[in-house]
């Protein structure tokens, strides 16, 4: 894992489910094919209702310059981020769109597992209601080891929750490298 993650925030609300993150009609792409992996970036967040897209104002496009990769690096969510289906295409879509981490109050379990085990994005948890304190477009920086989050636009800082028992898996880069490290899989 990188020591710092920096970039622009894209803010969403509560219960952002996997159908909003990547609508079912795009699940026909196969993420194991590099050309098709890119397509998930293109359609990432395409079913978020416009009023909820890029809070607090809403109606902020997730993609601007590039149709595959977003200008935003960090997603701020509310409660129960990634609820709904087990589709790994959801964290894949965020990864393909250039998102490095999500900060939410808590996650739906399968989304969290997929993010960690696949090594796509870092799912940080926060005890603060950041989706009502950070604005879309704010420049953020996170010190991943200490969990210190800074809003460079406003000067505010927050302490994120420790990654805890999944930290070694995230550090290793996913479940396969982790299993090799702990001797579950032959290196």
């Amino acid at each position: 894992m990188q020591t710092t993650i920096s970039g622009k925030a894209y803010v969403l609300g509560d219960n952002v489910d996997t159908d909003q993150i990547i609508p079912a009609q795009y699940l026909t792409f196969n993420p194991s094919v590099a050309e098709e992996y890119k397509m998930f970036g293109k359609y990432a967040l395409s079913s978020v209702p416009p009023a909820q897209s890029g809070l607090p104002k809403g109606h902020v496009p997730f993609h601007t310059k590039d149709e595959f990769v977003s200008d935003y690096t960090i997603i701020i969510g509310g409660k129960n981020f990634g609820c709904g289906s087990s589709r790994e295409h959801a964290p894949i879509a965020l990864d393909a769109a250039g998102i490095q981490c999500v900060i939410a109050e808590f996650y739906a379990r399968i989304f969290f597992r997929n993010s960690v085990n696949g090594g796509y994005i870092v799912p940080f948890e926060t005890g603060d209601r950041l989706c009502e304190q950070i604005c879309t477009g704010d420049e953020l920086t996170i010190d991943t080891a200490s969990g210190k989050l800074q809003n460079l636009t406003t000067g505010e800082t927050w302490q994120l929750k420790p990654l805890g028992e999944v930290a070694p898996i995230i550090d290793a880069g996913g479940i396969f490298s982790y299993a090799k490290k702990v001797g579950m899989l032959k290196a």
């Binding site: 159908d19 079912a24 196969n30 194991s32 129960n80 087990s86 996913g174 396969f176």
Partner: protein, 435 residues
């Protein structure tokens, strides 16, 4: 040894441990790994990437492949994905594949698994689909996983898990004729919220649960994921064992596991089912609960009866009881979950008419067994909401865009309520039109 819930006991046995406690991180052995056409190709990709092009799955007998999501479509990529499964099954020589266009084709994986004898008490089932939790109705630990986890299992047979604390939901009393398991689970989800069981197991107990038939128990467990639950589980009784034994053509032995007296639950809620009313989940979340009487008269454009949670024979019998001899006022789509259920529509009858005749006479359209419009899918999918209309459905999710158009409104309800509403084109209470 301290008392354990059945979820804890099953996990402990599969981790070769005498006991486990909620919060423990453990590696468990897999009894069955299921994948389908949407997540299979990605899973296979992960497996080959990490274990090598010529790697073999850890146990051919334990991998079950069920194409079901995007089947009756001309979408090229969707059809390509089924080809990826075919190719893999061939090269791995997998015995449990239910291919499209063959007599083996089944339809929706969560119903196909028990029908084909792949669900047994005490086992661990992982599937690349969030509604894999359905199989908890057979007294096993069943949960949904992603492609990476599934690819890992394909190569090793193992997965790490965190032992969940168990919530207990007790239902007392016999269900009145106007209520179904769908009403019970929608009531629970409405009460605890769609994150109320996140990271937790949900155990259903009480005489009200054991009075339900197997299909209704599957409906209860199917929707625990809509409350964020990791798994749902019901202790096996004679009904479970009769069902499992009659389907266990692979003659696998299994061991019944039940909750120890004195086991600790992190939450408990008791319901008297005789006091409940028909329930509905309004757009756009399964926990957006209302009683049907509160929203009666809401205008609708479409009714949909299908999916793993609402497309079983019990669901169609219930709908047919209401539709028999009457006509629907709005487009009504009937989608049997599996080919076995589709066959049942032609053989099961009410007052001398088959369920199929009842639906067709009422003006409903019947589709081929598959997931169909439950998750939208390609635009030519049977029943898909291609425009922002209002639909009442027996399916399990109504998030924005779930059944197609992102501004469509989906109301979730029991097959009785959906059939009653189809008759009037408005949300209707089954109590007003039972016959």
């Amino acid at each position: 040894m301290s008392a354990m819930t059945m979820t804890e006991k099953i996990l402990a046995r599969h981790a070769n441990k005498a006991e486990v406690s909620p919060g423990d991180n453990i590696w468990v052995d897999t009894d069955i790994l299921m994948t389908h056409d949407v997540c299979g190709p990605g899973t296979i990709g992960v497996f080959k990437h990490h274990f090598g092009k010529d790697a073999k799955v850890w146990d051919r007998e334990k991998v079950v492949i069920i194409p079901d999501h995007y089947i009756f479509t001309t979408d090229k990529l969707a059809n390509r994905n089924v080809d990826v499964l075919r190719q893999f099954v061939k090269e791995q020589n997998l015995p449990h594949f239910y291919d499209v266009g063959t007599p083996d084709y089944k339809g929706v994986c969560h119903i196909a698994l028990p029908e084909e004898g792949h669900t047994r008490p005490g086992e661990i089932l992982f599937g690349t689909d969030s509604h894999t939790c359905t199989a908890g109705a057979f007294g096993e630990f069943a949960t949904g996983i992603g492609n990476t986890d599934a690819g890992f299992i394909m190569g090793t047979g193992k997965l790490w898990l965190k032992v969940p604390p168990t919530m207990r939901f007790v239902f007392h009393g016999e269900l009145p004729p106007y209520l179904m398991a769908k009403d019970l689970i929608l009531a629970v989800i409405g009460d605890i919220g769609c994150d109320g069981a996140t990271y937790k197991a949900m155990e259903f107990d009480g005489d009200g649960v054991f009075a339900l038939n197997i299909e209704e128990r599957m409906t209860l467990c199917n929707m625990v994921i809509e409350a964020g639950g990791k798994n749902g589980v019901i202790a096996p009784d004679k009904l479970t064992l009769d069902y499992v034994n009659s389907r266990n053509k692979h003659k696998k032995s299994f061991e019944v596991v039940t909750t120890d007296p004195g086991a600790k639950f992190c939450f408990e809620k008791v319901y008297d089912v005789r006091k409940l009313e028909p329930v509905i989940a309004k757009p756009h979340s399964p926990d957006n609960k209302a009683t049907v009487s509160e929203v009666k008269g809401t205008k609708l454009d479409r009714a949909y009866i299908g999916s793993c949670t609402g497309g079983k024979l019990t669901d169609f019998r219930a709908a047919a009881r209401i539709l028999n001899g009457r006509s629907v006022k709005i487009d009504t789509f009937v989608v049997p979950a599996t080919s076995e259920i589709a066959a049942g529509l032609k053989t099961e009858s009410i007052a001398g008419k088959t369920l199929e005749q009842i639906f067709l006479n009422a003006g409903a359209k019947i589709g081929e067994p598959s997931c169909a419009a439950c998750l939208g899918g390609p635009s030519d999918t049977f029943g898909r909401l291609n425009t922002p209309i209002s639909c009442i459905s027996t399916t399990n999710r109504n998030f924005p865009g779930r059944m197609g158009h992102k501004e469509a409104k989906v109301y979730l309800a029991s097959p009785l309520t959906v059939a009653a509403s189809a008759l009037t084109g408005m949300i209707a209470d089954p109590r007003d039109c039972m016959q």
